[in-house]
Amino acid sequence: MGEKDFNVENARVQMRKGLLEFPILLIVARGEVYASDILKELKKADLIVVEGTLYPLLSRLKKSDLVNYEWRESRTGPPRKYYKLTKQGGRVLGELLMTWDVLNTSITKLIKTYEKSS
């Protein structure tokens, strides 16, 4: 019963979408990147399923003044937006890193206790 009600895929999606902004900020923080770079990284880390999701998130981060971008010409295709972190974005990323650290520690601890007990 309980197994049927609990949708594993759904839980995974929930975890991922709660996190998504954090890895995006991490990637943008590395230096000047454009959408395709970010997508490549996220896909490699299996953090994003469909590409389109990135754009609303970037737009939101821009609106919240966490990231900024500048236009650059491309020789092969259309012009690109190169993103970089703002001061405010750096602060938020710092806080998120701290939160992640705490979360990571406690989850790891729980997992270890679980492994020991079994």
């Binding site: 395709s36 389109g52 999701t53 737009s59 939101r60 821009k62 491309s74 295709g77 259309p78």
Partner: protein, 558 residues
């Protein structure tokens, strides 16, 4: 064979097959719609277009973009549905209240793909998820409920928009907006058999309503274009009227305040209320009317400037103050009423008596009760509440005595007029007029001839011995005459009533009009003219002449 069109995405030109273009543009529209509640819609769509352009430009050398390419790209980018799944709650919240779960939201459209008349029934069916047959059956059956079905159909026809775009058709059915759905719909749209399901009969039937819809749409467009003008004009009028009303109220209340202790204002409000009560009461009355005035001015300003000048806090404050004022006014009034009643009860009774010069005609306009007595002298006396007695004025002018209340001609705020008993003594009487709800009683009077007129709801009791008498009763007046008069003539109109059943006469002539009635006592000769729902009853066996018309009646009374 397929048609190829040129498009520009992200500043780059591509050649694309027409059906692929259709799918792509529907996809972008769906995304734009999904984010339309935010101000980021354009930016997001631009980003996605840029990304699509980049993908297209990576294809090997000049190639035409086909449906398959678009499909691949949409699969990579994700449908709107995928977006819903992947974006965090905050994101969906930020996209506004405009329905985050679009795929579940059904909208009511007319289904123009499946229509007998205009697609109302199939649209409703899609909305409620039932087979259109049932809805159609309901419509047909409800025609027998006084034609309700027809009216309902017509109203819905005008109100429900047709599902025209693919997105609207999906909204109508409540299907999720995905590429697959779009493709399905696009295919359906192009296949010929779903077209022309409308019979020519339905087409003829439809024409006037499509015309009506067109007219309403045109009217709507007209309203939108002259709307701002009307809005500003209406706002201006509202401001002027509200401000004027508030100003007038201020002046009026100031006037009341300063006249409260003057002669104009007979009600001694200041004696009833303490200074504080009076001030609070007056202030409350002021606020009670000032707040709607202020709201009017603000509403007018909002209309003119097209921005909401109201804030929730202010509205709440206004509401609280207004209801508070209402309560205070009610409270003050309920404190006032018993005091007022007692004040009138306790007013001293006064009697005034005056000797008069000769007269034989009397006019009573004061609404009082007047008794007329035959006596040696000419005199008048008033008995009643002191204030009323002092108010009464009388005058003898070329043989006519006129009794009126003195204050009727000038402004009097809060005046009250308990009536006064008047007794008039005179040796001779040839004319009496009672008006404005007065009551005149003539005690046994002997005279040669008398003309008596009763108007405006006055009443009369006349006990008389005379040769000739003329009686005029009008406007719901009621007159009783007894005694004996040789020759009587009466004009009775506008729902007046005359009773002469205790009067003996030789010749009686009555004219009645407009729902009037008369009871006639014993007489030798009786002439009756009765019009418009009037009625006459008489006794005995008089020599009768009658002229009756328009549902009037004459009956003998036993």
């Amino acid at each position: 064979m397929k048609k190829v069109v040129s498009i520009t995405i992200g500043g780059m030109v591509f050649s694309i097959e027409e059906d692929a273009y259709g799918a792509l543009s529907e996809y972008l529209t769906a995304i734009r719609d999904r984010f339309k509640a935010t101000d980021e819609a354009e930016e997001i769509v631009d980003d996605i277009e840029l990304s699509i352009a980049e993908k297209f430009s990576k294809k090997k050398k000049p190639q035409i973009i086909r449906s398959k390419d678009v499909e691949t790209i949409i699969a990579e980018m994700g449908t709107v549905e995928d977006f819903e799944k992947e974006l965090s709650e905050i994101e969906t919240d930020a996209s506004g209240s405009d329905d985050p779960i679009q795929k579940l939201r059904k909208k009511l459209y007319r289904n123009t793909d499946d229509q007998i008349i205009a697609g109302v029934a199939s649209g409703l069916a899609a909305y409620f998820g039932v087979d259109p047959v049932f809805i159609r059956l309901l419509f047909v059956l409800s025609i027998f409920l006084h034609g309700f079905g027809i009216l309902a159909y017509l109203v819905l026809w005008v109100v429900m928009p047709p599902a025209e775009t693919v997105a609207q058709k999906l909204e109508m059915k409540g299907d999720p907006i995905t590429l697959q759905q779009f493709e399905k719909m696009l295919k359906d749209k192009l296949s010929p058999e779903t077209k022309e399901r409308t019979s020519s009969f339905a087409k003829v039937l439809r024409a006037p309503f499509e015309l009506l819809r067109g007219l309403m749409r045109a009217f709507g467009a007209l309203l939108r274009s002259i709307g701002p003008l009307i809005r500003v004009a209406f706002g201006l009028v509202l401001i002027v009227v509200s401000f004027g009303a508030a100003l007038a109220l201020t002046v009026a209340l100031t006037g009341v305040h300063f006249s409260v202790n003057s002669g104009l204002f007979e009600l001694p409000v200041r004696d009833f209320l303490t200074g504080t009560e009076y001030a609070i009461g007056l202030g409350a009355v002021y606020l009670l009317f000032l707040i709607p005035g202020a709201m009017g001015v603000m509403l007018g300003a909002s209309l003119m400037k097209r921005q909401n000048k109201f804030s929730g806090v202010m509205l709440a404050l206004f509401a609280v103050v207004w209801f508070g004022s209402l309560f205070v006014v009610g409270d003050t009034a309920s404190a006032l009423v018993p005091q007022y009643r007692a004040y009138i009860e306790n007013m001293p009774i006064a009697t005034q008596e005056h000797q008069l010069e000769a007269f034989d005609q009397i006019e009573v306009f004061s609404g009082d009760s007047v008794v007329i007595r035959q006596g040696e002298e000419y005199s008048i006396s008033f008995t009643g509440k002191e204030a009323s007695v002092e108010d009464r004025s009388f005058e003898v002018h070329s043989g006519v005595l006129t009794v009126s209340d003195g204050k009727r001609d000038h402004v009097c705020i809060g005046c009250f007029q308990p009536s006064v008993d008047v007794v008039i003594t005179t040796p001779a009487l040839s004319y009496l007029e009672a008006a404005h709800g007065s009551r005149a009683v003539i005690e046994l009077f002997e005279t040669d001839s008398l003309v008596a007129e009763f108007k405006h709801g006055s009443t009369g009791e006349i006990d008389i011995v005379a040769t000739k008498m003329k009686l005029v009763a009008s406007h719901a007046s009621q007159v009783t005459v007894r005694g004996s008069v040789e020759e009587v003539s009466a004009e009775i109109y506008y729902a007046a009533r005359v009773d002469t059943s205790d009067l003996e006469s030789e010749k009686t002539s009555v004219e009645l009009d407009y729902s009037s009635s008369a009871e006639i006592g014993s007489t030798d000769v009786l002439n009756i003219t009765a019009q418009r729902s009037s009625s006459v009853q008489y006794v005995g066996e008089p020599e009768l002449t009658e002229d009756i018309s328009e549902s009037s009646s004459v009956r003998k009374k036993f």
